[in-house]
């Protein structure tokens, strides 16, 4: 094809959109290095105080907790997602396959608020789990599940599971079945075949799924907000609180910047570690 007809028309709106996004990110960066004027929405001069303020134990512990929650969620999401993805790819009957698919994927389209609210009805003091345990006579008084890390991780795994399943299933479906058949015909049992053939070959999917689950969890807001109830806090909750309760937008911006850098660093480490593992294997 000669020339590049309509290139400008095709690209211009996209460039405009990218510029808007860049401006929004620049706004966050710029606010991060501005002084907060208490009681005002305006900002003062340039300062690095926001970043030194973050060294206080309160904020350091929230960062640590956020990374821990993200890692736990990614891990359990992987452990729960793998069997589902495996069942999805290797299903023999079409009905079973579409049942697994629809059940596994539906939560993705429900939105964070509906899903988290549903977990409130499960985990609450008068919710399903406590109701069932009390009714069975296994406990005398409700077990505290709300406002605990256990509850938050449980709901976060539920949020990230569909994406994990989709990514793992895509990777598993690309594995040539002949490899496993060859291993089995050479005498490997199903367990050994899985551990030495299927699992290593699905590594790209595991990596993609785990890092996406990590990033999604980092971005989660409604789940830690509603189930953590202020007692289990993630960076997102702190940013919102600082912005809309204290109107300290500069500090909120600096927290987002550090959070973003931290998430990027962890993801890069994860990628590096897995690359090394793959080379060793």
């Amino acid at each position: 094809m000669r020339g590049r007809p309509f290139l400008g028309w095709f690209v211009a709106p996209g460039v405009l959109c990218a510029l808007g996004l860049a401006a929004a990110m620049a706004a966050v960066l710029q606010y991060a290095v501005r002084a907060h004027i208490p009681g005002s929405l305006g900002v003062g001069g340039f300062t690095l105080e926001n970043f030194s303020g973050m060294l206080r134990p309160l904020y350091a512990s929230v960062f640590l907790q956020t990374v821990q929650l993200c890692a736990l969620t990614a891990l359990f999401s992987l452990l729960a997602g793998y069997p589902l993805a495996h069942a999805l790819v290797h299903a023999r009957s079409a009905a079973w396959k579409s049942a697994v698919l629809v059940i596994a994927v539906t939560p993705l389209f429900l939105g964070e608020v509906v899903r988290t609210y549903s977990w409130l009805t499960v985990l609450g003091n008068s919710g399903f789990i406590n109701g069932a345990l009390l009714w069975l006579g296994l406990i005398d008084s409700p077990v505290q599940l709300m406002f605990t890390r256990f509850g938050v991780v449980l709901a976060l795994v539920h949020v990230t599971l569909p994406v994990m399943v989709i990514m793992l299933a895509a990777a598993l479906s690309h594995i040539n079945a002949d490899y496993l058949r060859a291993a089995m015909s050479l005498g490997a049992g199903p367990v050994r075949g899985f551990l030495t053939v299927t699992l290593p070959l699905s590594m790209p999917g595991i990596l993609a799924g785990t890092s996406t689950a990590f990033a999604w969890t980092f971005s989660a807001f409604a789940t830690p907000q509603m189930i953590g109830g202020g007692r289990v806090n993630m960076v997102s909750n702190l940013v919102y609180q600082l912005g809309f309760a204290s109107f300290n937008f500069p500090f909120a911006a600096s927290l987002s910047v550090v959070g973003l850098a931290l998430a990027a660093a962890v993801l890069a480490l994860l990628r590096l570690g897995t690359a090394r593992l793959e080379r060793l294997a």
Partner: protein, 272 residues
Amino acid sequence: MRYGLGLRALRLMLRLLVLTILGFVLLPSVVVIIAAFSDRSILAFPPTGFSWRWFARALAYEDFQSGFRNGVIVMAWASSIALVIGSGVAIALHRYSFTGSRLLQAMLLAPLVVPHFTLGLGCLILAAQLGVARTMGLVVATHVVLVLPFVLRSVYVSLRNLDGRLEQAAASLGAPPGRVLWTVTLPLLAPGLAGGWLFAAILSFNEFTASLFVTAQRTQTLPVAMYNYVREYADPTMAALAAIYIAVTALLLLVANRFLGLGRVLAIDHGH
């Protein structure tokens, strides 16, 4: 058969494990649907009676109604604008090599990895700096940025599957580039465009975190209205709305699976 018994036990265990995980996925939806029919004004298990009144209240609640209207308006605008922008960029990226194409692609895909609270905060600060009020326009603009990566990807994938010879044939028969685009490329892309729009629409309608930052009382979308309701009230009205949400979504997915093949859309199956 050396593995006979062991293999069967393994299969059974795997099946049980899968059923348990599916139970975990289904549990909150089932529980919230049961809670929606409760006859008491606080959540309690096991339920003591049956009533439809929370559904009536959910449908009549003013904030949910206005949130639904706002959500539909934002969804329609944002996904349509994203579709136009996204297909333009996808076609340009697919066909031409131009300076800055990789940068443009990276920038437009960034919302996939940048946390939504950071994006929401950025849009809010930017709007404040530019002196823009928290209007529907701001919400739509934020949503366009958020859903664009999905549209871009969906259109790009269908472009790659499109037979380029058809365009060449039209061009060699004398059709000018505009006519090729309008009569050959776009009609062939229609399924990809529809899929991208639908995906964008669903994501926009459900988007919560960024919306919370950029909406005001008058422009709040349904997820924001739901969040505010849960913060203020503990009655099962929200459970009824969640039940409606779950029923409609499950129905849509079953239909999509029947007619489009969900596996193919999500790239889990390929070429049978």
